[in-house]
Amino acid sequence: MWIRFSLCLIVLIPLAACSSASQPDRAPAPLVSGSVAADWNSLVAAANREGKVVVSGPTRELWRTQLVSFEQAYPEIQVEYIGSNSRDFWPRVFREREFGQYLWDLRVGGPDPQVYEARDRGALAPIRPFLLLPEVLDETKWFGGMDRMFFDREKKYALGFVSYISFVAYVNRDVIPETELRSLRGLTNPRWRGRIVLQDPRGGAGLSAIEMLLEVYGESFVRDLLTSQNVVVANDLRQQAEWLVRGRYPIALGIVPDAFLSFQDQGVDINIQPVPEDTSAIATGTGGLQFFERAPHPNAAKVFMNWLLTRAVQTDLSAATRMNSRRLDVPVAHELTAPDPARLERYVPSQVEEMVPVREQAQQLARELLP
């Protein structure tokens, strides 16, 4: 009986697995011509015929929920959404394309150096020509105008629709009052030895923090900080946030505000503030967009891009993720990190392609100096 049962399983489960296997569409759908593309309705009709858009995006549930809501606006187009971080996603795409697999339409993610590599490899198509909706094309609606929405040198491949001040450090003011730590320069004070936690700067937000310190205060400051302050490196945002909230490490570098704001949401009484900065970085975080060359569903992708940049969608997305939209007609979701349009020129756009060498140097320093 048991043997028979096992044999049945051996036969049936692979069959069931095969039957549920979804084969990715491989043949690129025909592009609509330029004149037709100008007609939004025609574009939507072409997108409906494609019936699907394949999007890679942040793994965070909030992002997934918001981006998949495209299906509510365009019920005939299914969103195939795969959450994946940059580290895993880009090597996968590069390898797929080497073997002639063009499976992705769009990537929603930050303009990491790998995005620029993807462009150099010919994997990215320009986005700008396919922004069609008047409310999307309206220069006055975007913080800094349309040019500043693009992070690549050509200003057409790597778009960022989020804009926030990326503070280098936050401090638990219940533990360290303002009188004791007034600026980032004070981080190298021996008093804070063993009291600083840094998100791992070998990738992600921690790297952005070191990049900014390097850009603003120079290499010797960074060396001093990383070698003399016994900085603890955290690999997990929640753990870093909890250490900051509990005061175990009252100074946190490279932390995302949302990580500790969720403690506040749940009723934890905390007083966490950014350490005042002379010059601040402005970032787009994971709120970036890239469009793939030879996308299998190009029309659906174009509809998605335009949909994503509308006021209504940006409002919902911004409220859900608490990352401020670049759109000026979207309510501010997080006051503390909202950039001031009047100070536009004073911010350092930390994720633009021109900053890649600084970022690489910051990574090299972190690699050399941290345990």
Partner: protein, 573 residues
């Protein structure tokens, strides 16, 4: 104990040509699916991108890997941690296994099951639970002890070497050994112990002088796996290590993969070094397995129980307490995590909530992820139970020339860390035209998960086969039983306990596998483990713990089912 060289090998078929053909096909298939991705990974580790992105060949990745700051300290830390953990966990595990498998301990079958439940529990919430108790500043146990004994500082620090050792022991180290060694001890002929007892030797000396030597192949397999696992696993060290700057070899590999862009070449170099270091030990294990005869199950098998006498109830209390320590505590942490607004924050105005359960259950992709997990884990079990015994059988019972190579190949998957193996699988499925159509389907995940659990499965069955006397098969053969009949009526019933173990381990490792499949999942085939990862990245430990409990319940249900079959079939003491 007999120390007779093995002279007889049961043919897989009456026609040697057919046997060679089948065995060669298996060797070819296994070799291709394991060596091809490994070759690609190795090849890649010698590729160096030039500033103009032209690819050249060189040793830069290997130099980078070996000269990575902190590498020497990490290697020393790993060696010390490994040594300490094995020295503590092996004696404890062997004692528990002996009590469960060889004695008249009351209720041992269900106590045994407690260890399985502990094995199914996800390690991260348990690690967080230990932080909740043993954090030097806010740990509940430390605070209590400070209050009771008026101490200035709590006596425990979970963020220390001994804290890491403790959490390893309380999560995996002992439990895994208990689970893996139990089937082997069940197959031990009690006449060996009875002879020892009649000679006036006490229980502990009997374990040391009779049981352990007979279990040597199994002990070596489990030891090797434990060491390799420690070389690769980094979750506990990653969470507890930073405050004391305690890094291990696996955290160095993980660190290289975190770089922007990830340094797969250098990480592969470190992974290959694990293989290089482990190869002599694997060969030694193979040599030990071949050099002596470890048959304990023969036609005269006597599965008696060692009477504990007056120690029966104290032993029962001790072993039940240990089992509960390994299960109630982790399940308590898990439960707490799912029902608390913020795990560990008891001082909130309203600390309890059902929100996390509602969030997970209401997630639009939850049901599909659950179904995918069932398909993935079920498919992996089928693959494991169909192929691992075959590979083990060829390695142990045939005269096929390539049997030792096949045996060695089966060790490869465990020596390569999951994230790197996942990249190898990606290349395998994309680079092989015959496999490419499967890319994006759940079959790919099943193959990847199956390969990930191959080492454990094959080695468990292989070691179990070493215990089985060949006269049982010979008797069937002489009586006119065909090979298939012999397998069905003689070998399979005797292997059932270990096959159940292999199936369950394959199930749970497939259900929890993230690293090996992260590069292969699509929207259609993504399992619960990926949903759990989403919550983790989001910092929602509580929702991730809900998914952990669902996987735990799923696996426990399967384990109960398997146990019903396993209890009825096979040799039980």
């Amino acid at each position: 104990m007999e120390t007779v060289k093995r002279g007889f090998a049961f043919p897989i078929s009456h026609r040697p040509d057919s046997q060679t053909l089948w065995c060669t096909a298996v060797l070819g298939g296994v070799g291709f699916i394991l060596l091809y991705p490994l070759f690609l990974l190795l090849w890649n580790s010698f590729q160096v991108a030039q500033p103009d992105r032209e690819v050249a060949f060189g040793l830069a990745n290997w130099v980078t890997a070996l000269t990575e700051p902190g590498m020497v300290a990490a290697i020393l830390n790993t060696a010390w941690l490994t040594l300490v953990l094995q020295l503590i966990s092996f004696p404890v595990a062997i004692l528990i296994v002996w009590l469960l498998a060889r004695t008249d301990l009351p209720g041992k079958d269900w106590i045994d099951f407690l260890f399985w439940i502990a094995f199914f529990a996800p390690s991260l919430p348990i690690t967080l639970g230990w932080i909740l108790l043993l954090d030097p500043d806010f740990g509940l146990l430390n605070q209590s002890l400070k209050a009771v004994f008026s101490l200035e500082q709590g006596p425990f620090n979970v963020y220390s070497f001994w804290g890491i050792v403790w959490v390893h022991l309380a999560t995996r180290s002992v439990v895994v050994k208990v689970i893996l060694l139990t089937p082997f001890l069940r197959n031990l002929d009690s006449s060996f112990e009875e002879a020892s007892r009649v000679s006036g030797v006490g229980p502990l000396r009997t374990i040391a002088r009779v049981v352990v030597p007979l279990l040597l192949p199994a002990v070596l397999v489990v030891l090797l796996m434990s060491v390799i696992h420690l070389l690769e696993s980094f979750e506990i060290e990653q969470v507890l290590g930073p405050p004391s700057q305690f890094y291990v070899y696996s955290t160095m590999i993980y660190r290289l993969l975190q770089f922007e862009p990830p340094e797969y070449g250098a990480a592969t170099a470190l992974a290959v070094m694990i293989l290089a270091v482990m190869t002599p030990l694997i060969l030694l294990q193979q040599r030990v397995s071949r050099s002596r005869r470890y048959t304990t199950v023969t036609g005269q098998f006597h599965g008696g129980r060692f009477p504990l006498g007056v120690w029966k109830w104290p032993a029962f209390a001790a072993i039940l307490g240990t089992g509960l320590f390994f299960t109630v505590l982790p399940l308590g942490f898990l439960g707490l995590a799912t029902f608390m607004r913020l795990f560990g924050f008891f001082n909130l105005p309203d600390p309890w909530t059902m929100d996390h359960w509602q969030r997970v259950m209401g997630d639009p992709i939850f049901l599909r992820s659950l179904l995918n997990t069932i398909l993935l884990a079920g498919g992996t079990v089928v693959l494991a139970m169909a192929s691992f015994p075959l590979i083990a059988y060829i390695a142990v019972r045939t005269r096929f020339r390539g049997r030792h190579i096949l045996d060695f190949l089966s060790w490869l998957p465990i020596t390569i860390p999951g994230l790197i193996l996942g990249l190898g699988f990606l290349w395998l499925f994309l680079g092989t035209p015959v496999l490419r159509p499967l890319y994006g389907s759940i079959v790919v995940l099943i193959l990847a998960a199956g390969i990930s659990s191959m080492t454990l499965g094959v080695q468990l069955v292989k070691t179990n086969l070493l215990q089985l006397g060949q006269e049982l098969e010979e008797a069937s053969w002489v009586a006119g039983g065909s090979w298939l009949y012999t397998v069905r009526r003689v070998i399979l019933p005797m292997l059932t306990p270990v096959l159940v173990t292999v199936g369950l381990v394959a199930f749970i490792s497939a259900a929890r596998n993230i690293a090996g499949i992260a590069l292969l999942v699509t929207n259609q085939n993504r399992p619960l483990a990926m949903l759990q990862l989403d919550y983790m990245v989001d910092g929602r430990y509580e929702a991730a713990a809900v998914v952990g409990i669902i996987v735990l319940l799923l696996t426990t249900g399967v384990a109960l089912l398997a146990r019903l079959f396993g209890l009825r079939i096979g040799i039980r003491t």
